[in-house]
Amino acid sequence: MKLSVQDLEVNYNNVAALKQISLEVSDGAFVTLIGSNGAGKSTTLRTISGLVKPSGGRICLDDQRIDMLSADKILRLGIAHVPEGRRIFKDLSVAENLYLGAYIHQDKAQIDLDLDKVYSRFPRLEERKGQHARTLSGGEQQMLSIGRSLMSRPRILLLDEPSLGLAPIIVQEIGHILREINQQGVTVILVEQNADLALQLADYGYVLETGRIAMQDKAELLADNEHVKKAYLGI
Protein backbone atom coordinates (compact mmCIF):
# COMPACT_ATOMS: atom_id res chain seq x y z
CA MET A 1 0.00 0.00 0.00
CA LYS A 2 1.42 3.26 -1.10
CA LEU A 3 0.41 6.52 0.49
CA SER A 4 0.92 9.63 -1.56
CA VAL A 5 0.18 13.17 -0.49
CA GLN A 6 0.16 15.81 -3.22
CA ASP A 7 0.19 19.57 -2.75
CA LEU A 8 -1.74 19.33 0.47
CA GLU A 9 -3.07 22.61 1.85
CA VAL A 10 -4.83 23.19 5.15
CA ASN A 11 -6.21 26.42 6.51
CA TYR A 12 -7.27 27.10 10.07
CA ASN A 13 -9.49 30.17 10.10
CA ASN A 14 -7.95 31.39 6.87
CA VAL A 15 -4.43 31.01 8.24
CA ALA A 16 -2.46 28.53 6.15
CA ALA A 17 -1.15 25.70 8.33
CA LEU A 18 0.09 23.53 5.46
CA LYS A 19 1.33 24.89 2.16
CA GLN A 20 1.66 22.42 -0.67
CA ILE A 21 2.95 19.46 1.30
CA SER A 22 3.82 16.40 -0.80
CA LEU A 23 4.89 13.04 0.60
CA GLU A 24 5.46 9.61 -0.90
CA VAL A 25 5.39 6.68 1.50
CA SER A 26 5.88 3.26 0.00
CA ASP A 27 4.72 -0.02 1.47
CA GLY A 28 6.69 -1.05 4.53
CA ALA A 29 8.62 2.18 4.82
CA PHE A 30 9.53 3.93 8.06
CA VAL A 31 9.20 7.64 7.46
CA THR A 32 9.59 10.49 9.89
CA LEU A 33 8.46 14.10 9.84
CA ILE A 34 10.64 16.35 11.98
CA GLY A 35 10.45 20.05 12.62
CA SER A 36 9.90 22.57 15.33
CA ASN A 37 6.71 23.15 17.21
CA GLY A 38 3.99 24.55 14.91
CA ALA A 39 5.74 23.53 11.69
CA GLY A 40 2.71 21.50 10.59
CA LYS A 41 3.75 17.95 11.48
CA SER A 42 0.69 17.15 13.54
CA THR A 43 -1.61 18.81 11.04
CA THR A 44 -0.18 16.62 8.29
CA LEU A 45 -0.95 13.46 10.28
CA ARG A 46 -4.38 14.69 11.29
CA THR A 47 -5.23 15.44 7.68
CA ILE A 48 -4.11 12.00 6.53
CA SER A 49 -6.22 10.28 9.17
CA GLY A 50 -9.27 12.39 8.33
CA LEU A 51 -9.52 14.53 11.46
CA VAL A 52 -8.82 17.68 9.46
CA LYS A 53 -10.22 18.39 6.00
CA PRO A 54 -7.75 19.84 3.50
CA SER A 55 -8.53 22.97 1.54
CA GLY A 56 -6.41 21.89 -1.39
CA GLY A 57 -4.40 19.02 -2.78
CA ARG A 58 -5.11 15.33 -2.51
CA ILE A 59 -4.28 12.25 -0.47
CA CYS A 60 -4.27 8.86 -2.20
CA LEU A 61 -3.97 5.36 -0.88
CA ASP A 62 -2.75 3.36 -3.87
CA ASP A 63 -5.16 4.75 -6.48
CA GLN A 64 -8.01 5.71 -4.15
CA ARG A 65 -8.54 9.29 -3.06
CA ILE A 66 -9.15 9.37 0.68
CA ASP A 67 -8.96 13.04 1.59
CA MET A 68 -12.73 13.48 1.70
CA LEU A 69 -13.41 10.40 3.82
CA SER A 70 -14.27 10.55 7.52
CA ALA A 71 -11.80 9.30 10.13
CA ASP A 72 -13.67 6.09 10.85
CA LYS A 73 -13.71 5.17 7.12
CA ILE A 74 -10.00 5.89 6.72
CA LEU A 75 -9.24 3.60 9.66
CA ARG A 76 -11.17 0.86 7.89
CA LEU A 77 -8.80 1.26 4.92
CA GLY A 78 -5.87 0.38 7.19
CA ILE A 79 -4.50 3.71 8.36
CA ALA A 80 -4.32 3.96 12.17
CA HIS A 81 -3.37 7.09 14.07
CA VAL A 82 -1.79 7.20 17.54
CA PRO A 83 -2.63 10.78 18.48
CA GLU A 84 -0.52 13.28 20.32
CA GLY A 85 -1.08 13.12 24.07
CA ARG A 86 -2.07 9.42 23.87
CA ARG A 87 -5.80 10.16 24.14
CA ILE A 88 -6.64 6.88 25.80
CA PHE A 89 -10.14 6.47 27.30
CA LYS A 90 -9.26 7.12 30.92
CA ASP A 91 -12.52 5.99 32.49
CA LEU A 92 -12.45 2.68 30.65
CA SER A 93 -10.36 -0.30 31.68
CA VAL A 94 -7.16 -1.21 29.84
CA ALA A 95 -8.87 -4.20 28.25
CA GLU A 96 -11.89 -2.12 27.17
CA ASN A 97 -9.53 0.40 25.55
CA LEU A 98 -7.88 -2.38 23.59
CA TYR A 99 -11.18 -3.94 22.54
CA LEU A 100 -12.27 -0.52 21.27
CA GLY A 101 -9.15 -0.49 19.11
CA ALA A 102 -10.68 -3.49 17.36
CA TYR A 103 -14.06 -1.72 17.05
CA ILE A 104 -14.10 -2.15 13.26
CA HIS A 105 -13.59 -5.92 13.44
CA GLN A 106 -16.22 -8.52 14.21
CA ASP A 107 -14.23 -11.78 14.25
CA LYS A 108 -14.02 -12.56 17.95
CA ALA A 109 -11.35 -15.27 17.63
CA GLN A 110 -8.94 -13.10 15.66
CA ILE A 111 -9.53 -10.17 18.00
CA ASP A 112 -8.53 -12.34 20.96
CA LEU A 113 -5.40 -13.43 19.08
CA ASP A 114 -4.54 -9.78 18.41
CA LEU A 115 -5.10 -9.02 22.07
CA ASP A 116 -2.69 -11.77 23.07
CA LYS A 117 -0.13 -10.29 20.69
CA VAL A 118 -0.49 -6.85 22.22
CA TYR A 119 -0.20 -8.31 25.72
CA SER A 120 2.94 -10.20 24.81
CA ARG A 121 4.41 -7.06 23.32
CA PHE A 122 3.36 -4.95 26.35
CA PRO A 123 3.27 -7.34 29.32
CA ARG A 124 2.56 -4.48 31.73
CA LEU A 125 -0.77 -3.88 30.00
CA GLU A 126 -1.81 -7.44 30.68
CA GLU A 127 -0.94 -7.03 34.37
CA ARG A 128 -3.18 -3.98 34.51
CA LYS A 129 -5.92 -5.03 32.10
CA GLY A 130 -8.76 -4.63 34.63
CA GLN A 131 -7.64 -1.22 35.89
CA HIS A 132 -8.98 2.11 34.77
CA ALA A 133 -6.64 3.52 32.16
CA ARG A 134 -6.24 6.71 34.20
CA THR A 135 -4.25 4.74 36.79
CA LEU A 136 -1.47 3.92 34.30
CA SER A 137 1.86 5.73 34.25
CA GLY A 138 2.73 7.97 31.29
CA GLY A 139 4.78 5.29 29.56
CA GLU A 140 2.11 2.67 30.09
CA GLN A 141 -0.50 5.03 28.69
CA GLN A 142 1.62 5.50 25.56
CA MET A 143 1.92 1.73 25.23
CA LEU A 144 -1.82 1.41 25.62
CA SER A 145 -2.36 4.01 22.92
CA ILE A 146 -0.03 2.16 20.53
CA GLY A 147 -1.49 -1.23 21.50
CA ARG A 148 -5.00 0.09 20.93
CA SER A 149 -4.14 1.23 17.42
CA LEU A 150 -2.52 -2.14 16.64
CA MET A 151 -5.81 -3.84 17.47
CA SER A 152 -7.27 -2.37 14.27
CA ARG A 153 -4.67 -4.36 12.26
CA PRO A 154 -3.24 -1.30 10.51
CA ARG A 155 -1.17 -1.40 7.32
CA ILE A 156 -0.02 2.15 7.96
CA LEU A 157 0.59 3.48 11.46
CA LEU A 158 0.74 7.22 12.10
CA LEU A 159 2.36 8.23 15.41
CA ASP A 160 2.30 11.75 16.80
CA GLU A 161 5.03 12.53 19.35
CA PRO A 162 5.05 9.17 21.16
CA SER A 163 8.13 10.16 23.18
CA LEU A 164 6.65 13.33 24.62
CA GLY A 165 7.07 13.61 28.38
CA LEU A 166 8.54 10.14 28.87
CA ALA A 167 11.72 9.12 30.67
CA PRO A 168 14.67 8.38 28.32
CA ILE A 169 14.65 4.66 29.15
CA ILE A 170 10.98 4.38 28.18
CA VAL A 171 11.61 6.40 25.04
CA GLN A 172 14.22 3.81 24.03
CA GLU A 173 11.78 0.99 24.75
CA ILE A 174 9.11 2.58 22.60
CA GLY A 175 11.58 3.18 19.80
CA HIS A 176 12.49 -0.47 19.94
CA ILE A 177 8.87 -1.53 19.69
CA LEU A 178 8.21 0.79 16.74
CA ARG A 179 11.08 -0.74 14.83
CA GLU A 180 9.71 -4.20 15.59
CA ILE A 181 6.28 -3.22 14.33
CA ASN A 182 7.81 -1.86 11.13
CA GLN A 183 9.84 -5.01 10.64
CA GLN A 184 6.62 -7.00 10.76
CA GLY A 185 5.48 -5.15 7.63
CA VAL A 186 3.55 -2.17 8.95
CA THR A 187 4.37 1.14 7.29
CA VAL A 188 5.21 3.73 9.97
CA ILE A 189 4.95 7.51 9.72
CA LEU A 190 6.43 9.06 12.84
CA VAL A 191 6.13 12.69 13.86
CA GLU A 192 8.71 13.69 16.46
CA GLN A 193 10.34 16.68 18.03
CA ASN A 194 12.96 14.27 19.30
CA ALA A 195 14.71 14.33 15.88
CA ASP A 196 17.63 12.32 17.19
CA LEU A 197 15.40 9.36 17.99
CA ALA A 198 13.32 9.76 14.86
CA LEU A 199 16.27 9.78 12.46
CA GLN A 200 17.76 6.75 14.20
CA LEU A 201 14.57 4.78 13.65
CA ALA A 202 13.41 5.93 10.21
CA ASP A 203 14.80 5.19 6.80
CA TYR A 204 13.51 8.40 5.22
CA GLY A 205 12.80 11.82 6.66
CA TYR A 206 11.04 15.08 5.87
CA VAL A 207 11.88 18.38 7.57
CA LEU A 208 8.91 20.70 7.95
CA GLU A 209 9.32 24.41 8.49
CA THR A 210 6.33 26.78 8.77
CA GLY A 211 3.97 24.53 6.88
CA ARG A 212 6.33 23.63 4.02
CA ILE A 213 8.68 20.78 3.36
CA ALA A 214 12.08 22.37 3.75
CA MET A 215 14.14 19.28 3.15
CA GLN A 216 13.75 15.57 2.51
CA ASP A 217 16.26 12.78 2.29
CA LYS A 218 17.35 9.41 3.58
CA ALA A 219 17.37 9.52 7.37
CA GLU A 220 21.08 8.93 7.81
CA LEU A 221 21.89 11.72 5.34
CA LEU A 222 19.55 14.13 7.12
CA ALA A 223 21.23 13.26 10.40
CA ASP A 224 24.51 14.37 8.86
CA ASN A 225 23.12 17.56 7.36
CA GLU A 226 24.59 20.68 8.96
CA HIS A 227 21.33 22.62 9.04
CA VAL A 228 19.47 19.70 10.59
CA LYS A 229 22.25 19.16 13.09
CA LYS A 230 22.17 22.78 14.17
CA ALA A 231 18.43 23.33 14.19
CA TYR A 232 17.03 19.98 15.36
CA LEU A 233 19.77 17.78 16.79
CA GLY A 234 21.33 20.41 19.02
CA ILE A 235 24.82 19.56 17.90
Binding site: L51, D72, R87, D91, L92, G101
Partner: protein
Protein backbone atom coordinates in the same frame (compact mmCIF):
# COMPACT_ATOMS: atom_id res chain seq x y z
CA UNK B 1 -48.37 -5.70 83.99
CA UNK B 2 -49.17 -2.02 84.25
CA UNK B 3 -46.49 0.25 82.94
CA UNK B 4 -46.00 3.67 84.47
CA UNK B 5 -47.80 6.06 82.21
CA UNK B 6 -44.74 8.17 81.28
CA UNK B 7 -42.99 5.00 80.15
CA UNK B 8 -45.93 3.87 78.04
CA UNK B 9 -46.10 7.28 76.40
CA UNK B 10 -42.45 7.53 75.52
CA UNK B 11 -42.40 3.90 74.33
CA UNK B 12 -45.35 4.59 72.04
CA UNK B 13 -43.70 7.75 70.76
CA UNK B 14 -40.45 5.95 70.06
CA UNK B 15 -42.29 3.36 68.01
CA UNK B 16 -44.09 6.08 66.06
CA UNK B 17 -40.83 7.90 65.36
CA UNK B 18 -39.20 4.68 64.20
CA UNK B 19 -42.14 3.91 61.93
CA UNK B 20 -41.90 7.34 60.36
CA UNK B 21 -38.16 6.95 59.89
CA UNK B 22 -38.49 3.57 58.15
CA UNK B 23 -41.46 4.72 56.06
CA UNK B 24 -39.33 7.68 54.94
CA UNK B 25 -36.57 5.34 53.80
CA UNK B 26 -39.16 3.43 51.77
CA UNK B 27 -40.61 6.66 50.35
CA UNK B 28 -37.16 7.97 49.45
CA UNK B 29 -36.02 4.76 47.82
CA UNK B 30 -39.06 4.74 45.57
CA UNK B 31 -38.41 8.36 44.57
CA UNK B 32 -34.79 7.63 43.75
CA UNK B 33 -35.78 5.32 40.90
CA UNK B 34 -37.51 8.14 38.99
CA UNK B 35 -34.73 10.60 39.73
CA UNK B 36 -32.12 8.17 38.44
CA UNK B 37 -34.02 7.24 35.26
CA UNK B 38 -34.45 10.89 34.36
CA UNK B 39 -30.90 11.88 35.27
CA UNK B 40 -29.00 9.11 33.45
CA UNK B 41 -30.54 10.15 30.15
CA UNK B 42 -29.50 13.76 30.70
CA UNK B 43 -25.97 12.61 31.58
CA UNK B 44 -25.73 10.29 28.56
CA UNK B 45 -26.86 12.95 26.12
CA UNK B 46 -24.63 15.60 27.65
CA UNK B 47 -21.66 13.25 27.79
CA UNK B 48 -21.86 12.01 24.24
CA UNK B 49 -23.17 15.10 22.47
CA UNK B 50 -22.10 17.95 24.71
CA UNK B 51 -25.66 19.29 24.64
CA UNK B 52 -27.65 20.15 27.75
CA UNK B 53 -31.04 18.79 26.79
CA UNK B 54 -33.47 21.22 28.38
CA UNK B 55 -36.36 19.27 26.86
CA UNK B 56 -35.49 16.19 28.91
CA UNK B 57 -38.25 16.83 31.44
CA UNK B 58 -40.69 17.13 28.54
CA UNK B 59 -39.57 13.71 27.26
CA UNK B 60 -40.62 12.35 30.66
CA UNK B 61 -43.90 14.26 30.29
CA UNK B 62 -44.55 12.73 26.86
CA UNK B 63 -43.99 9.27 28.36
CA UNK B 64 -46.60 10.02 31.01
CA UNK B 65 -49.04 11.45 28.45
CA UNK B 66 -48.67 8.37 26.26
CA UNK B 67 -49.74 6.17 29.16
CA UNK B 68 -52.59 8.51 30.02
CA UNK B 69 -53.79 8.62 26.42
CA UNK B 70 -53.52 4.91 25.66
CA UNK B 71 -54.19 3.36 29.05
CA UNK B 72 -56.54 5.76 30.83
CA UNK B 73 -58.37 7.01 27.72
CA UNK B 74 -58.28 4.01 25.41
CA UNK B 75 -57.92 1.05 27.79
CA UNK B 76 -54.73 -0.32 26.25
CA UNK B 77 -53.11 -2.72 28.75
CA UNK B 78 -50.67 -0.85 31.01
CA UNK B 79 -47.60 -2.94 30.23
CA UNK B 80 -48.09 -2.45 26.49
CA UNK B 81 -48.46 1.30 26.96
CA UNK B 82 -45.13 1.37 28.81
CA UNK B 83 -43.46 -0.16 25.78
CA UNK B 84 -45.24 2.26 23.43
CA UNK B 85 -44.30 5.21 25.66
CA UNK B 86 -40.66 4.18 25.47
CA UNK B 87 -40.88 3.87 21.68
CA UNK B 88 -42.64 7.21 21.20
CA UNK B 89 -40.13 9.09 23.32
CA UNK B 90 -37.21 7.28 21.72
CA UNK B 91 -38.40 8.34 18.28
CA UNK B 92 -38.70 11.96 19.46
CA UNK B 93 -35.16 11.73 20.80
CA UNK B 94 -33.82 10.35 17.53
CA UNK B 95 -35.54 13.10 15.56
CA UNK B 96 -34.05 15.71 17.88
CA UNK B 97 -30.58 14.28 17.32
CA UNK B 98 -30.90 14.03 13.58
CA UNK B 99 -32.52 17.38 12.83
CA UNK B 100 -31.34 19.62 15.67
CA UNK B 101 -28.35 18.43 17.62
CA UNK B 102 -26.39 17.03 14.66
CA UNK B 103 -26.50 20.23 12.59
CA UNK B 104 -25.64 22.09 15.81
CA UNK B 105 -22.76 19.73 16.60
CA UNK B 106 -20.13 22.44 16.92
CA UNK B 107 -22.39 24.84 18.74
CA UNK B 108 -23.44 23.56 22.18
CA UNK B 109 -25.28 26.81 22.91
CA UNK B 110 -27.24 26.38 19.66
CA UNK B 111 -28.12 22.83 20.69
CA UNK B 112 -29.30 24.04 24.07
CA UNK B 113 -31.48 26.72 22.52
CA UNK B 114 -32.93 24.17 20.08
CA UNK B 115 -33.77 21.92 23.01
CA UNK B 116 -35.62 24.78 24.69
CA UNK B 117 -37.61 25.13 21.46
CA UNK B 118 -38.45 21.43 21.60
CA UNK B 119 -39.53 21.91 25.22
CA UNK B 120 -42.20 24.42 24.17
CA UNK B 121 -43.27 22.41 21.14
CA UNK B 122 -43.81 19.28 23.24
CA UNK B 123 -45.75 21.25 25.85
CA UNK B 124 -48.04 22.64 23.17
CA UNK B 125 -48.46 19.22 21.55
CA UNK B 126 -49.39 17.76 24.93
CA UNK B 127 -52.01 20.48 25.33
CA UNK B 128 -53.35 19.72 21.86
CA UNK B 129 -53.61 16.00 22.58
CA UNK B 130 -54.82 16.21 26.17
CA UNK B 131 -56.77 19.42 25.98
CA UNK B 132 -56.63 21.98 28.71
CA UNK B 133 -58.14 21.80 32.10
CA UNK B 134 -57.17 19.85 35.15
CA UNK B 135 -54.12 17.64 35.48
CA UNK B 136 -54.69 14.19 34.03
CA UNK B 137 -54.94 11.18 36.28
CA UNK B 138 -54.19 7.56 35.46
CA UNK B 139 -55.90 4.97 37.65
CA UNK B 140 -53.20 2.67 39.04
CA UNK B 141 -53.16 -0.69 37.23
CA UNK B 142 -51.75 -2.40 40.32
CA UNK B 143 -54.09 -1.93 43.20
CA UNK B 144 -53.54 -2.43 46.86
CA UNK B 145 -50.73 -1.89 49.31
CA UNK B 146 -48.14 -4.26 50.65
CA UNK B 147 -47.86 -3.96 54.42
CA UNK B 148 -44.61 -5.08 56.04
CA UNK B 149 -44.30 -5.61 59.82
CA UNK B 150 -47.80 -4.16 60.15
CA UNK B 151 -46.68 -0.57 59.59
CA UNK B 152 -44.45 -0.17 56.52
CA UNK B 153 -46.69 0.50 53.57
CA UNK B 154 -45.64 0.14 49.95
CA UNK B 155 -48.36 0.46 47.32
CA UNK B 156 -47.94 -2.31 44.75
CA UNK B 157 -47.88 0.31 41.99
CA UNK B 158 -44.80 1.88 43.54
CA UNK B 159 -43.22 -1.48 44.16
CA UNK B 160 -43.65 -2.23 40.48
CA UNK B 161 -42.12 1.12 39.54
CA UNK B 162 -39.04 0.71 41.67
CA UNK B 163 -38.52 -2.87 40.44
CA UNK B 164 -38.74 -1.79 36.80
CA UNK B 165 -36.47 1.24 37.44
CA UNK B 166 -33.81 -0.93 39.05
CA UNK B 167 -34.08 -3.45 36.24
CA UNK B 168 -33.76 -0.74 33.58
CA UNK B 169 -30.77 0.84 35.30
CA UNK B 170 -29.20 -2.61 35.61
CA UNK B 171 -29.71 -3.23 31.90
CA UNK B 172 -28.19 0.14 31.10
CA UNK B 173 -25.20 -0.62 33.32
CA UNK B 174 -24.73 -3.97 31.61
CA UNK B 175 -24.98 -2.33 28.20
CA UNK B 176 -22.37 0.28 29.09
CA UNK B 177 -19.87 -2.04 30.73
CA UNK B 178 -20.25 -5.32 28.90
CA UNK B 179 -20.98 -4.53 25.28
CA UNK B 180 -18.79 -3.11 22.58
CA UNK B 181 -21.42 -0.50 21.74
CA UNK B 182 -21.52 0.49 25.40
CA UNK B 183 -17.75 0.92 25.50
CA UNK B 184 -17.92 2.93 22.29
CA UNK B 185 -20.57 5.16 23.85
CA UNK B 186 -18.41 5.81 26.89
CA UNK B 187 -15.40 6.35 24.62
CA UNK B 188 -17.21 9.00 22.57
CA UNK B 189 -18.32 10.77 25.74
CA UNK B 190 -14.70 10.86 26.99
CA UNK B 191 -12.93 11.78 23.77
CA UNK B 192 -14.92 12.12 20.62
CA UNK B 193 -11.88 12.54 18.34
CA UNK B 194 -9.92 9.63 19.79
CA UNK B 195 -13.06 7.53 19.40
CA UNK B 196 -13.31 8.40 15.73
CA UNK B 197 -9.68 7.27 15.38
CA UNK B 198 -10.83 3.83 16.56
CA UNK B 199 -13.33 3.75 13.71
CA UNK B 200 -16.28 4.69 15.91
CA UNK B 201 -18.89 6.61 13.94
CA UNK B 202 -19.83 9.30 16.42
CA UNK B 203 -23.07 10.19 14.63
CA UNK B 204 -24.27 6.65 15.09
CA UNK B 205 -23.19 6.64 18.73
CA UNK B 206 -24.89 10.01 19.33
CA UNK B 207 -28.07 8.54 17.96
CA UNK B 208 -27.77 5.51 20.21
CA UNK B 209 -27.03 7.72 23.22
CA UNK B 210 -30.06 9.91 22.70
CA UNK B 211 -32.21 6.88 21.94
CA UNK B 212 -31.16 5.20 25.18
CA UNK B 213 -31.46 8.44 27.16
CA UNK B 214 -34.88 9.19 25.71
CA UNK B 215 -36.03 5.62 26.31
CA UNK B 216 -35.11 5.98 29.99
CA UNK B 217 -36.99 9.29 30.14
CA UNK B 218 -40.01 7.70 28.45
CA UNK B 219 -39.91 4.85 30.94
CA UNK B 220 -39.65 7.28 33.86
CA UNK B 221 -42.72 9.12 32.55
CA UNK B 222 -44.65 5.91 31.99
CA UNK B 223 -43.89 4.66 35.50
CA UNK B 224 -44.73 8.02 37.07
CA UNK B 225 -48.02 8.35 35.18
CA UNK B 226 -50.23 6.50 37.67
CA UNK B 227 -48.55 8.18 40.64
CA UNK B 228 -48.56 11.87 39.85
CA UNK B 229 -50.49 14.79 38.37
CA UNK B 230 -49.98 14.70 34.60
CA UNK B 231 -49.94 18.08 32.89
CA UNK B 232 -47.95 19.76 30.12
CA UNK B 233 -45.70 21.50 32.66
CA UNK B 234 -44.76 18.51 34.79
CA UNK B 235 -41.35 18.31 33.09
CA UNK B 236 -40.24 21.44 34.91
CA UNK B 237 -39.74 19.76 38.29
CA UNK B 238 -38.18 16.74 36.61
CA UNK B 239 -35.46 18.77 34.89
CA UNK B 240 -34.58 20.71 38.06
CA UNK B 241 -34.16 17.47 39.97
CA UNK B 242 -32.17 15.97 37.11
CA UNK B 243 -29.84 18.99 37.05
CA UNK B 244 -29.23 18.82 40.80
CA UNK B 245 -28.55 15.10 40.65
CA UNK B 246 -26.30 15.43 37.60
CA UNK B 247 -24.20 18.20 39.10
CA UNK B 248 -23.94 16.60 42.53
CA UNK B 249 -23.06 13.26 40.96
CA UNK B 250 -20.45 14.74 38.69
CA UNK B 251 -21.32 15.96 35.22
CA UNK B 252 -20.70 13.13 32.78
CA UNK B 253 -20.59 10.41 35.40
CA UNK B 254 -23.42 7.91 35.09
CA UNK B 255 -22.61 6.05 38.28
CA UNK B 256 -22.37 9.44 39.99
CA UNK B 257 -25.84 10.34 38.71
CA UNK B 258 -27.33 7.11 40.04
CA UNK B 259 -25.64 7.43 43.43
CA UNK B 260 -26.60 11.10 43.66
CA UNK B 261 -30.20 10.18 42.73
CA UNK B 262 -30.45 7.79 45.66
CA UNK B 263 -28.81 10.23 48.08
CA UNK B 264 -30.83 13.20 46.90
CA UNK B 265 -34.11 11.28 46.96
CA UNK B 266 -33.50 10.16 50.53
CA UNK B 267 -32.33 13.64 51.51
CA UNK B 268 -35.34 15.32 49.89
CA UNK B 269 -37.75 12.82 51.41
CA UNK B 270 -36.34 13.19 54.91
CA UNK B 271 -36.24 16.98 54.80
CA UNK B 272 -39.78 17.04 53.41
CA UNK B 273 -40.94 14.70 56.14
CA UNK B 274 -39.24 16.39 59.08
CA UNK B 275 -39.34 20.00 57.85
CA UNK B 276 -41.17 20.67 54.61
CA UNK B 277 -40.89 20.38 50.85
CA UNK B 278 -39.88 23.96 50.20
CA UNK B 279 -36.98 23.69 52.63
CA UNK B 280 -36.06 20.41 50.94
CA UNK B 281 -35.93 21.93 47.45
CA UNK B 282 -34.05 25.03 48.58
CA UNK B 283 -31.49 23.02 50.52
CA UNK B 284 -31.15 20.68 47.52
CA UNK B 285 -30.26 23.65 45.33
CA UNK B 286 -27.88 24.93 48.02
CA UNK B 287 -26.11 21.58 48.09
CA UNK B 288 -25.78 21.80 44.31
CA UNK B 289 -24.20 25.26 44.59
CA UNK B 290 -21.94 24.02 47.38
CA UNK B 291 -20.78 21.10 45.26
CA UNK B 292 -20.09 23.49 42.38
CA UNK B 293 -17.89 25.60 44.64
CA UNK B 294 -16.14 22.93 46.72
CA UNK B 295 -15.93 20.03 44.32
CA UNK B 296 -17.01 21.13 40.83
CA UNK B 297 -16.39 17.65 39.48
CA UNK B 298 -19.13 16.21 41.70
CA UNK B 299 -18.89 13.22 43.99
CA UNK B 300 -17.93 10.78 41.26
CA UNK B 301 -16.42 13.03 38.61
CA UNK B 302 -12.73 13.27 37.79
CA UNK B 303 -10.83 16.42 37.15
CA UNK B 304 -10.61 17.03 33.43
CA UNK B 305 -7.01 16.81 32.37
CA UNK B 306 -5.40 18.58 29.43
Amino acid sequence: MILPSFFADSFYETILALELFLQSIVNGTIQSGFFALAAVGLVLIFGVMGVVNFAHGELVMVGAYTVWFLHAQHSTPFLITIVIAILVVTVIGILMEKFLFRPMRDDPLGGLICSIGVLFILQVLATLVGGDGPSKQVPPPFEGTMVLFEFLRIPYQRLFSIAVSVAALGLLWHFLTHTKLGWALRAVSQDREAASLQGINSNRISMIAIAVGAAMAGLAGALMAPLTNINPHMGHNVIITAFIVTIVGGVGSLSGAVIASVLYALFHTFVTTYFNGTVATISGLLIMVLVLIVRPTGIMGHRVSE
